[in-house]
Amino acid sequence: MTRHFAISLPVGSSLENHTGAWRTERPQYADFLPPCNNACPAGENVQNWLYHAEEADYQEAWEEIMRNNPFPAIMGRACYHPCETACNRATVDEAVSIHSVERFLGDRAIAEGWHIKIATEKSGKRILIVGGGPSGLSAAYHLARLGHSVTIVEAEAKAGGMMRYGIPEYRLPRDVIDAEVQRILDMGVTLRLNEKVRDIPAAMKKESFDACFLAIGAHISKHVDIPSPDAGRVLDALHMLRDSENSSDKGALIGRRVIVYGGGNTALDVARSAKRLGGESIIVYRRTKEKMPAHAFEVEEAIEEGIQFRWLETIKHLSDETITIEKMKLDSDGYPQPTGEFEVISGDMVVLALGQDVDTSITTGIPGIKNDKDGIVSVDSNMMTGFPGLFAGGDMVPSERTITVAVGHGKKAARNIDAYLRGKEFSVKEKHTLATAEKLNTWYYSDAEKAVQPTLEMLRRRTTFEEVFGGLDETNALFEARRCMSCGNCFECDNCLAVCPDNAIRKLPMHLGMEPGKGRFEINYDYCKGCGICVAECPAGAMEMVPEVI
């Protein structure tokens, strides 16, 4: 080869140098568990459905929710969204309003009539579900998706359980419940209303059910004895809410000044409902505002609506128009202790909202069934009771009592029942490492305040059962979805590709079946020197450094 003047060697390329040999640690793409997913009692892949919502691909987002939870429109309203409590965006400005995006997707699905297609072949197995509440309906939905034939037996006149008989309409409109329940029934699930199952083994045998899921909830209100000349003026909270639901005009109040005794969410539901029925509501709670089991935001909403609170007080007795209360004080351990100081307040009706017990008569006599000390039905890690083929979930098993936990139980039970019927073992995949806030590089996220849901005007909040919070419109919902930081999961910002000083990262073309944010980038370890800039500058913390094996 002829060479130019003074060129003594042929020109070589630096590609000959495999600088990857310098490396002692290697970067790699990771798939960490977003805190929202970790916190969701229904096991939703929140980060994943927000990813689709960010692209305005609402149906795909909705279908992702539906993999785990059949009630997006209900959950978007009535779930206490532990996902938002866990959300890492709170360390930047405010948590993503996940529930309002979920509600937007759920409402859009109802408006557009989106349905779930059952892809699986029919299994030929029959399953009885006792109780048509969130847990039972969730189990029915998941079992139907798995190809089984499902019958729900519900004691009330309508399905929904606590979603209908425990949560007032101003928080959860009934047409939303009807639509999401109907969608499950449209999948071929049979619903039998106004029917009680007394003997489960007999019922299973009679109609040849292969398994049963028991989810009757906790419907017996806890009581305290309050001396009163007229027992009719002491009601329990669930009865009041249920009567209100079953009457055409929301029911009438027995008294005008309603004293609600208790500090949980049900106490607030009763007080706010009574206010809407024209009464005056006073909540009496034996401990302080901070110690109330109710969620703080619901307490604030109640205060806004004019509900009065009397903290550190107990009810001693009731006479015709008055109620005697005793003031309490917290001892050094934080427990309320009587002070001997009394006060008489006017009030003509007391509603007890002190919690609920399970009616265990349904399981009495079934061989192998165990109850724990509070009478709650014990289940193993597969949600099966001691009686083979009988599973239980929801409020009647030991757990936190929320509708979202109940939905999660329904899903878990369905997958275990499916495994049981197919003679397999259902095993939960091991959880990935949590994507904690310090894994993220939040500098990269644009400043964006949370989108605020519209609120019903105050007069209507105090006098009607119209829904308090409105939904987001599409613009707001898309904005809110895009506030998601995609913790621990790639959202294709191309930063790693750009920041590598050694050009060692390549972006791959999209191909069919590629999961969102997975496998878009590839590291060329021949040249990667292991500096770690890609990991440090990944906004989502979706990469990690691992030591090289030498």
Partner: protein, 347 residues
Amino acid sequence: MIEPKIQEQSSVDGVQTRVKFYQTGTFTAGNRLLDKELRTVQSSQERSNAITCGHRACQGCGEALGARYALDAAIRAANGNIIAVNATGCLEVFSTPYPETSWQVPWLHSLFGNATAVASGVAAALRRQGKDHIRVVAQGGDGGTTDIGFGALSGMFERNDDVLYLCYDNQGYMNTGVQRSSATPPTARTATTPAVGKAPGNPFGIGKDVPRIAMAHNIPYVATASVANLHDLEEKVTKAMSIHGARYIHIFVPCPLGWAHATRDTIRVARLAVESGVWPLFEAEHGEVIHSSPIRRQIPVEEYLMTQGRFAHLFKPKRDEERLSALQAIANKNIERYHLIHEEANA
């Protein structure tokens, strides 16, 4: 930095065009939600990769990154018609140990001090040949620019030769063993300004501010940039390439070896320099500052200093309050001079 919320976009339909918010906006290199033309050159798989793999820069080299950022943007702006002239320095040594090279552009190296003179000559030759569409870029480190090549640089500015000069500033002579240059900041420890004695590290009151010296030549375009602000850097290079005459861009490129910071922190250190006011980002035309980028989240200078071993003596064995406040005063002066804190940005 483009404010994402007010950015118009055109190619997506419906509500997506109305929502001017893209999760990370233009802070990241790309982002699938962002319109293609708003993404950086670096986010594209089709970028030129002016310096390809296998170069011998240290792990986490800011200069390798800055040079690729700047040249890839220049190559795109000139439709690939670029000749690059290089001064001696890290960039030349790690990219081109004879006879191999990492460069994917026509590339010329002569001496440490004459890169601008060679570039002026290349530009003159191209003009003589009638090849005006071929553009000339000269580049060097801070040593080759602010010290050794300074006379030639000033001459190129003064003659307004059609050359874009890119200075990759890592604040010292790094490949020869971290000696001080006239771009080394006060108090920094180098091999020639050790952290010993009553006033350890590089003294106050010496060194040059070459972007301002360039402005004093009244050349058409002067800008500062940083590897931490990729969109800004590419926009400045693209703008410079649209102008003829002498142009100068001074790019801040951290050096993990010489500054003694973790290799993964190269961009973070550069970001902290911008956020503290140590490294102002601005553009000047014909000697006048026409634009500066506001600090996004202001931090005290010591947060920047603490990331680097070369400033460790300011914090231990005990805090050197006097020098820390003198360094903060320099940043404060930058903030004032270039209006780096915008009221509306904090509103």
